[in-house]
Each structure stands twice: as C-alpha cells, then as structure tokens.
C-alpha cells in the first residue's frame, strides 16, 4: 500500500495537488501509487514557465523504462515554477514523489478539475493495484 498524505488533494490521473486551500498557487506532482506503477522514471518533461494552461490539458510527460504517461494540469492558470531538480534527476519521482519529486506550480485562475480527498483517492487506487 503506497502512501497517500492526508493533507493533499488528488486527481483520477494520479496526481497530487498541494495548497488548494489558500487559493493562490498550487504545487503538482504524481502520487506514490503512480510512481510505483510506472517503475523507474527516466525522463520528466515539465511545462514552460509563463505558459497558461486549462484544467485537463496535457502539459508534460513522465517516462519510465516500460511506459510513458501524460501529466495533466489539474487546474487552470499560469505555470509559475517548474522543478529543475526532477528534470535533472527523474528518479526523484520514485524516491520522494510528494517532496523533492514535485513537478510544477500553477497560479490559480480557474476552478480545479474534480479533486479527490486522500480517502477518496485511497478507494480509487485500491481497485487498481
């Protein structure tokens, strides 16, 4: 059973979102469950800083030995920061998905996609593993 921190929000696309409650800027990454499913991540493509995204847009990708997955914007807004460390060392997605492995930050300009609580995300993943 992979970890699902209580304080984060989640999407059905296996991303986590931090900072939703303050309504300004959110941080986005992929969940530990997703990282385990992917296996060793070897390449991360993050969106460009300054670009504007809509909720649900494919904005990047995470590539592992066996597969590749799109990264979606969980919320509309402007990309204000990306994690160069995870681009340089994609294994951070595996080793610390909720910390050093974060992907990008969005300044919120719209309503988020339907987000899941930790409990709801746990239910979702228990059926997929």
């Amino acid at each position: 059973m992979s970890s699902i921190p209580e304080e984060l929000s989640y999407t059905k696309e296996h991303e986590w979102i931090a900072g939703v409650e303050d309504g300004l800027t959110v941080t986005v990454g992929v969940t530990a469950f997703a990282a385990e499913q992917l296996g060793d991540v070897v390449f991360v493509q993050v969106p460009e800083v300054g670009s504007t995204v809509e909720a649900g847009d494919a904005v990047g990708e995470v590539e592992s030995t066996k597969s590749v997955s799109d990264i979606y914007a969980p919320i509309g807004g402007e990309i204000v920061e990306t994690n160069q460390a995870v681009v340089d060392d994609p294994s951070l997605v595996n080793s610390d998905p909720y910390g050093e492995g974060w992907l990008f930050r969005v300044r919120i300009e719209g309503e988020p996609e339907e987000l899941l609580s930790a409990a709801e995300y746990a239910t979702l993943t228990s059926g997929e593993s």
Binding site: E36, G39, D40, V42, F43, Q45, E61, E63, T65, K66, V68, N94
Partner: protein, 361 residues
C-alpha cells in the same frame, strides 16, 4: 485466468510487482528495474523463466524430423550442445524462435516461447508424423531458472561439482545444483555470460533460495521481465511478437543465417524462403539524440513520411540514451536523416549497428 509458475510464492515474498505475460503471472520487477538491469551487467541476476515451453522430440529419427520441421540442421548437433533456430510456416513466416538442445543421441529438447509453445508442439507433432520420432510437450515438467551476469560462474560454482569452466556457450549438461538434479545450460538472453537451469517444478523454490543465498555476497539480485527486456534489447536480441512475427521471414529480421538450405532433404518453408525477394526493410538499431523514448509501434519517419516502425524501444541504462530496434526501408536507410514520431513530434535518431552492447570477454 493466468497461470502461475512454481515460484509464485517466492516472488510474492520478495514483494514483486506481477504482470500478465502470455497468460502467466510473472514478476515484472522486484524493486528498481534499473538496479536489476545493472546487477546483471556488473554482478549477477536471477530470473524465473518457468513460463517457457519445453517440447521433447525423441526416437531414432528425431534429428531427421527436426531437420524437416525447423529451418536449422539439427541432426548434426552433437549431444550436449544447443542451437538457436526457428520454426516457420510453409510461407516462410516465423512461428517462433527456439533453442534446441540435444540431450542424448535420440533425445532433443526444443525450448519455445511462452506465447507460442502450444502451437509449436502442435506443428512439431504434425510435421514429425512421417518419421520414427515422438513429440511430447513436457512444459509442465520443468521449472526454468536463469542466472546471468559476470559473477554467475562464481555463484553457481559454489553449489555444484559440474565442470562449469568446461561448459561452452550453447552447451548443456546434466548436473546437481544444491542437491537438486538439473540440466545446466550455458545460454541466456541478456548479452552476459550465464546459465539456465532446467529443474523439476517441486525443486524450483529450493534451487532459487540456494542461488539467492550463494549469490548474496556477489551482488546477485532477483530480476523481473522488465530488466530482461532492456537487457536483451541492449544485446540486440529479437523478441517474438516484436521483431519476429508470422508476417516476417528470418531474412526480414536479418537472421537468415539460421536457415540451412544446404542440409539434406526438404524442410517446411524451404520453397518460399528460397524464392524470396531481397527484403525491402531492414531491422536496425536506433539511438535517440534526445531523451524521449521511441517505443514499440511508433512510426519511423523521414521528412514527414513514414519509412518504418519501431519494434522495441527503451531507455538504455548502459548507454545512457534511449535505444530502439526498428524495421526501416532500405531506401530511407541509404538517405539517412531519420526521425521517430514520438507522440506527434519528430525526434532525430541515429542508425547504429546491432548489438548496442557487447560484453568484454
């Protein structure tokens, strides 16, 4: 319903991620597949290959039956030796790639891929009918465990008195490993030195645990199918279903050397393969210049036109770049400037000779 190998519980105990492969629940990886890959290149790896099929062809004319049924010349194989070969249709399409061991003068063991061995057994049975030979699918009578990597001999040597130094590549001999009777073969699918151990299913767990213990201080790791796939790709070895299919001949795959036209008598596929035109497409190695990975099924392109298709692709641990095998038209290969359409963007690739990796002896 997927089948399990005799090592299912061992894999679960090791925390393996299991995946369905050709109807079998097999370990995809135990932890980091990169670490598993690197262990085989630098130390040793342990694999469960019990999903593979073993078909025995026995009798006074077993060799002649195989000469007719397969593209190789098996009747001249010395007992104790093995050969890589293929079984094709009348049209020359590859039904499977095989390793055939001659265990005794009148006993051959044909090792076939998990996805194909039922069909191979059926074809062999049909094709052997005119000969004084019997075909028996004994896949359920074998577990198969492989130990691969530069430390394989040192690890296996702790558990057996068999003459491993005298055992050549593509040879096999009966022996005792950790008290279990096995057939020890010096074969593999990783590009490294190593052994494949054909054991009784009830001995599989004991054999696996003995190898794990003997290998603990020599860097042995259990390895899943993910590492097996990247290892064989670096070694330029074809995978049935990717590089080899019934729509391709051995010549299309650049493996025409396995077809022995000069053996006596007819063989299934001979007429079709003799009259074949030169292949229009060639199987080549590609190395991506960027970091995005060309994968199975992606189009190979040149100036916006599709000129081929990727059959296998993965990030290469050893090269530090994405690599792929692909069928590309001979014309486009001559012109150069190839790209792979990676989800809509044309990524430049360089054509290289296979294999991508060759071990230093």
């Amino acid at each position: 319903m997927s089948r399990s190998t005799p090592l299912r519980e061992v894999h679960e105990g090791l925390g393996a991620t299991l995946t369905d492969f050709a109807g079998w629940q097999m370990p995809l990886r135990y932890g980091s597949e990169s670490a598993e890959h690197n262990a085989v290149r630098t130390a040793a790896g342990l694999f469960d290959l019990s999903h593979m099929g073993e078909i025995h062809v026995t009798g006074p004319q077993a060799g002649e039956a195989l000469d007719y049924a397969l593209v190789g010349h098996l009747s001249v194989l010395e007992p104790g030796r093995a050969r890589y070969t293929m079984i094709v249709t009348e049209d020359g399409g590859v039904l499977d790639d095989l390793i055939v061991y001659r265990l005794a003068p009148e006993d051959f063991m044909v090792v076939a891929n998990a996805s194909n061995y039922a069909r191979v057994a059926q074809e062999l049975t049909e094709r052997a009918k005119p000969y004084d030979a019997q075909v028996e699918d004994r896949s359920d009578a074998y577990a198969l465990v492989a130990i691969q990597g530069p430390n394989s001999t040192a690890i296996l040597g702790k558990l057996t008195d068999a003459d491993l130094d005298g055992l050549k590549y593509y040879a096999g001999l009966p022996g005792t490993v950790a008290g279990f009777e096995v057939m020890i073969a010096r074969t593999g699918y990783t590009g490294e030195d190593g052994f494949e151990l054909f054991a009784r299913p009830e001995d599989a767990a004991g054999l696996w645990n003995a190898l794990t213990e003997a290998g603990a201080e020599l860097g042995l790791r259990p390895c899943g199918l993910s590492a097996r796939d990247t290892l064989r790709l670096e070694a330029g070895m074809p995978l049935y279903g990717n590089e080899l299919t019934a729509e391709m001949t051995p010549f299309d795959a650049g493996l025409g050397r396995v077809v022995k036209f000069d053996k006596p008598g007819d063989f299934v596929g001979k007429a079709a393969l003799s009259g074949r035109p030169a292949p229009e497409r060639r199987l080549v190695g590609l190395v991506a210049r960027g970091r995005r990975v060309p994968r199975h099924g992606y189009p190979v392109t040149r100036e916006g036109e599709v000129v081929g298709v990727v059959t296998s692709g993965a990030p290469s641990q050893t090269l530090g770049k994405p690599i792929a095998m692909a069928y590309v038209s001979a014309d486009a290969l001559d012109k150069g400037g190839l790209t792979v359409d990676i989800r809509g963007s044309q990524e430049p690739v360089d054509v290289v000779d296979l294999p991508f990796y060759r071990r230093s002896k």
